[in-house]
């Protein structure tokens, strides 16, 4: 079995993912995630 290089489509998708994350951080989405995650999510735990 000849091992070649890692899957090029996988690498391309990973790069797209990283670029999207960077753009998302630039838009302030990471702070929005943090703002949600630091409060108890009442829906998640079945309260409200």
């Amino acid at each position: 079995m000849k091992n070649k290089t890692p899957n090029k489509y996988g690498i391309a998708a990973a790069v797209v993912g990283v670029l999207m994350m960077i753009f998302g951080i630039y838009r302030g989405e990471a702070e929005a995630v943090l703002a949600k995650a630091v409060r108890i999510c009442l829906e998640c735990i079945g309260i409200g």
Partner: protein
């Protein structure tokens, strides 16, 4: 090799994965103060998502749940699409595929351990199994994307429908410990809590009988990662030159995939059981793919195993 010996061998080959799963679950849920005081971690690490289904309202959670974060952003009045969480899911999916399900998901570990509980008649497959596996894609589309985005209140804010009405991980990791430890929260429990408790109880019972029922039929995170299994950098390969067609790999696979025919099938969680049980070493999990015609790594359409 009789049944008892076979199961003993299988058990021993799964131990390293379970230790890894446990370590990962402990590391990502290591805010001990939360478990003592009945509160959650509020530090900046929660900017980051963890790859597996891990409720951010678990008292120990250091990171954010990707499905919770995804719903939280697309249901908010400020964002109707999230580049950050979508990019994270694409990145993790493209690199690992469903390896995350097999190795990095705490709720996957819970189901793995529950399935080890003896039961007179474990169900490997049943009528309707194949159709039911599509349910997770419907749940992803309807409960994680459409409903949180479309059903909004007068301020434009929607609900996290999957977290609120379906997710048993939220109940197990967040609901149970927080209501046990926090008297204020305990006083507010009502119908929704009972509903989610019943869902968790059903998941627990089914996990004893069926291997990973939540992952197979419900999990929207597994559904997302399954799209990437065919192209992920971490991949499973079957060398047709070495394969002696003994069928052992398909028999040991608890997700009912036939690795010989479709090593990167969307249901494969990269647990590695097939690799460890292959008598000729034809199956391998690694970071490389090949153009060799004798090795198959993309052939999902031929798999009718489940």
């Amino acid at each position: 090799m009789d049944k008892k010996q076979r199961s003993k061998k299988q058990k021993s080959t799964e131990a390293p994965r379970h230790i890894f799963q446990l370590l990962w679950a402990v590391i990502t849920n290591s805010f001990v103060t939360g478990f003592i005081q009945g509160r959650i971690y509020t530090g900046s690490l929660k900017n980051l998502c963890v790859p597996g289904l891990n409720c951010y309202s678990c008292p120990g959670a250091l990171g954010s749940c990707p499905i919770g974060s995804l719903q939280s952003l697309i249901s908010s009045r400020n964002y109707k699409f999230t580049f950050y969480v979508s990019g994270f899911l694409i990145f993790i999916g493209a690199v690992f595929g469903r390896f995350v399900c097999g190795w990095l998901c705490p709720f996957g570990l819970v189901q793995d351990l529950l399935h080890k509980i003896p039961f007179p008649k474990k169900l490997r497959t049943f009528r309707g199994d194949k159709i039911l596996r599509k349910l997770k894609y419907v749940i992803l589309l309807v409960f994680v994307i459409i409903l949180p985005m479309v059903i909004v209140d007068i301020t434009g804010q929607g609900d996290p429908w999957f977290c609120k009405y379906i997710c048993p991980a939220g109940m197990l990791q967040g609901g149970l410990p927080l209501t046990l430890l926090n008297e204020g929260l305990r006083d507010t429990i009502g119908f929704l809590y009972a509903w989610k408790f019943v869902i968790l109880a059903i998941t627990v019972i089914l996990s004893i009988i069926i291997y990973r029922p939540f992952c197979k039929y419900i999990c929207p995170l597994g559904a997302i990662y399954s799209f990437f299994n065919k192209i992920s950098v971490f991949t499973l390969r079957c060398d047709k030159e070495k394969c002696v067609e003994c069928g052992k790999c398909g028999k040991v696979c608890k997700m009912n995939v036939d690795p010989k025919e479709a090593p990167n099938h969307s249901e494969c969680i990269r647990c590695g059981l097939c690799e460890k049980n292959c008598p000729t070493g034809a199956i391998s999990c690694n970071w490389k793919t090949g153009s060799n015609k004798n090795s198959e790594n993309i052939k999902p359409e031929n798999n009718d195993e489940y």
